[in-house]
């Protein structure tokens, strides 16, 4: 297992660099420059600015310099959003907010999804089952911004239970609506997969054998059904995490959360290269860590995977 994790981390590192390289090339191909009011600047002045930031050098040289600086913890400075502010300082607080919302949505969504799925499978063809089906269909088919708008209208505006927009003086309460909006898709997908998978596990030969031992229902579910159900549910968790990240871009914008997502969009629009690169780097790393966690979890739950990896 240890060897496997190390190998996976090595591959992940290479992946991150490939992502950064491709991004670097794409950014250098984008029209325009990162400097404000460039129509008012003379070509000489722009040239001067470029020389100041080292942007007049060839792309490859800039890339290698960027990587070397990165190893020293230096991600460069912002060119126009907050001029000359180090990226590290700019991103840290925002990263924490985005992470908080993302983690809350991920954990909450998975838990609620699991509970709904299990209840639906256990009480198949009852009201609970139908209710779960309705939630699943809605959650999967409606995009997160629709929920975000509904939530902000009803809970934020009409009943004023939660702040309509992010309020930095009460950070915890402010994350409630974004978290709910973001978690809907996860709830729906996890509930659906859990239900289907659990029903098929309870239809399996090994369930029948376990039942024939005379085990009470609770033991059957806890010892045999849940673990086998989780194997398949974990497989769909990885793609759901991607969804959490892309979803956060939109949801942060709607609730004006000062997170990475909204900064990312602004940075892309204004050609603030270093900001775009740094946030892309963070997203890639987060994603890779999440995938690795899912894989390790998979190994813990499924002995077939765990034992195969040890060999």
């Amino acid at each position: 297992m240890k060897k496997y994790v190390l190998k996976r981390m090595g591959i992940s590192l290479v992946t991150v660099f490939v992502i950064l390289f491709v991004l670097f090339m794409l950014l250098s191909l984008m029209p325009g420059s990162p400097f404000n009011n460039q129509e008012k600047l003379s070509p000489e002045q722009i040239q001067q600015m470029k020389a100041f930031y080292g942007l007049d050098k060839p792309v490859l040289e800039r890339f290698f310099r960027y990587i070397i600086n990165m190893f020293h913890g230096d991600f460069g400075v912002s060119y126009n959003i907050q001029v000359n502010m180090p990226i590290r300082d700019m991103v840290t607080s925002r990263l924490l907010i985005t992470l908080a919302i993302g983690l809350q949505a991920g954990v909450l969504g998975t838990l609620i999804g699991l509970i709904l799925g299990i209840v639906a499978a256990l009480y198949r063809r009852t009201v609970w089952d139908s209710l779960t089906t309705v939630i699943s269909v809605l959650g999967v088919s409606l995009p997160s911004f629709v929920f975000a708008l509904l939530l902000s209208y009803f809970l934020g505006f009409k009943y004023q239970l939660f702040p309509l927009l992010y309020n930095s003086s009460m950070p915890m309460v402010s994350t409630v609506l974004p978290t709910i909006a973001l978690s809907m898709f996860t709830v729906a997908s996890v509930a659906r997969y859990t239900r289907t998978e659990m029903i098929s596990v309870m239809d399996s030969d090994y369930y029948m054998l376990a039942e024939s031992k005379g085990l009470p229902k609770v033991k059957l579910i806890v010892n045999h059904v849940l673990r086998n159900t989780m194997i398949s549910v974990i497989t769909v968790l990885a793609p759901l995490l991607v969804n959490l990240m892309t979803g956060s871009l939109v949801v942060e914008k709607i609730f004006s959360v000062p997170g990475l997502g909204s900064l990312y969009i602004t940075a892309i629009q204004s050609n603030d290269y270093n900001v775009v690169l740094a946030i892309s780097f963070i997203y890639s790393v987060m994603f890779i860590i999440a995938m690795l966690l899912v894989d390790i979890l998979y190994g813990i739950i499924d002995p077939r995977i765990r034992l195969a990896k040890e060999e």
Partner: protein, 362 residues
């Protein structure tokens, strides 16, 4: 021989399934008796109702199933003296908590899928014991190892830590058998336990079941469509067709003196490899009846080359031939014309008898 103790007594069992096309009558009035220390085989083609019958005994009910009537009386001793219950009348909870695993156990068809892939063999084996035998973990572990050794698994302590995917199909079936025997059941149901295994392993698993049955003196109900298996393991044979038992008797009766034309057909369709000339493999013409339709007369009549007019009008009763041997065919009615089994089958049975006698002489 001392008085035989009856363990299972099925009378007039009828089971139907509600399907999109209508009511399928899978089992239509079935009688069966099983005694301690004996193996009863139930033989029949796919869809004849054999699996449905054992599922009723195990209390495995499909949601679309309805029981038309009958009784399944099961006799067991739960420490406080002997008890007889109707398995169709007791609550699912009683069935689950008091009978399954402890008094009635089952060996399933496909060992590749019947063990939980996420649990070690040892835990799966100990689960039932911890529940029913009221023993501690250490004792259960010891007993589990002993059981594994008994079913022919070497190095049981190490094997108990293995997961199912680390064992071969034959080994897994041995584990399934060990699980079934772990709480000393009175009745063991084997649902085609060797069908999914390759032939060399089949014989060994059959031998194992037979040995263990003698050792534990339990009753075994053996479901199969393989007559070769029946000849090897069974004391009694029930031949099933379209949800009914159409011939029943001791194994010798069924193999050496079959009376029902369907049994003739079944016996004729065993591939014969001993003959000098390669015979064409016999098959019974036609298809089994659609159990959605009301069956008038003998269900086998349309496929029966010896069918008489009455076969299409009235259902034959069970005619008694000798002590245990009975068959449901109008050919046994005193008024029926004398019909003999086909010559080819007769010659084959003579050969089997000779072989059997030679074996017995050894």
């Amino acid at each position: 021989m001392s008085e035989k103790k009856q363990i299972l007594k099925i009378r007039d069992l009828s089971v139907s399934f509600h399907t999109a096309n209508g009511l399928v009558k899978a089992v239509r009035g079935l009688n069966m008796d099983v005694y301690r220390g004996e193996t009863v085989a139930v033989v029949g083609e796919s869809g004849s109702g054999k699996s449905v019958t054992v599922k009723e005994i195990m209390g495995i009910h499909a949601p679309n199933e309805s029981i038309g009537g009958g009784t399944i009386e099961f006799t067991y001793d739960d420490g406080g003296g002997e008890k007889t219950v109707d398995l169709l009348k007791i609550s699912p909870r009683t069935m689950q908590n008091h009978l399954k695993g402890k008094h009635i156990a089952m060996v399933f068809q496909d060992p590749m899928t019947s063990l939980d892939p996420t649990m070690t063999i040892g835990r799966q084996l100990m689960e039932g014991m911890l529940l029913h035998l009221h023993i501690g973990r250490e004792e259960a572990r010891k007993r589990a190892a002993e059981l594994l050794r008994m079913v022919g698994i070497s190095d049981p302590e190490k094997r108990m830590k293995s997961y199912p995917h680390q064992l071969s199909g034959g080994m897994r079936q041995r584990v399934v058998i060990a699980i079934a025997l772990s709480c000393d059941p009175d009745l063991l149901i084997c649902d085609e336990p060797t069908t999914a295994l390759d032939v060399t392993i089949q014989a060994r698993i059959l031998q194992l079941i037979m040995d263990l049955q003698k050792q534990f003196n339990i009753a075994v109900v053996f479901i199969t469509h393989n007559l070769g298996v029946v000849a090897k393991v069974a004391d009694y044979v029930n031949v099933m067709y379209a949800g009914k038992i159409i011939e029943t008797g001791r194994t010798e009766d069924i193999f050496f003196d079959p009376r029902h034309p369907y049994t003739w057909g079944l016996l004729s369709s065993i591939p014969d490899v001993s003959g000098d000339k390669a015979d064409r493999l016999y098959n019974i013409k036609g298809n089994p009846p659609n159990l959605l339709n009301e069956i008038k007369g003998d269900a086998f009549a349309p496929r029966n080359p010896f069918a008489m007019e009455i076969d299409f009008q009235e259902e034959p009763p069970m005619f008694k031939i000798s002590g245990h041997h009975q068959a449901a065919t109008w050919l046994l009615d005193p008024r029926a014309p004398k019909v003999e089994m086909p010559d080819q089958l007769r010659r084959r049975i003579e050969a089997m008898k000779k072989e059997d006698a030679a074996h017995a002489g050894n």
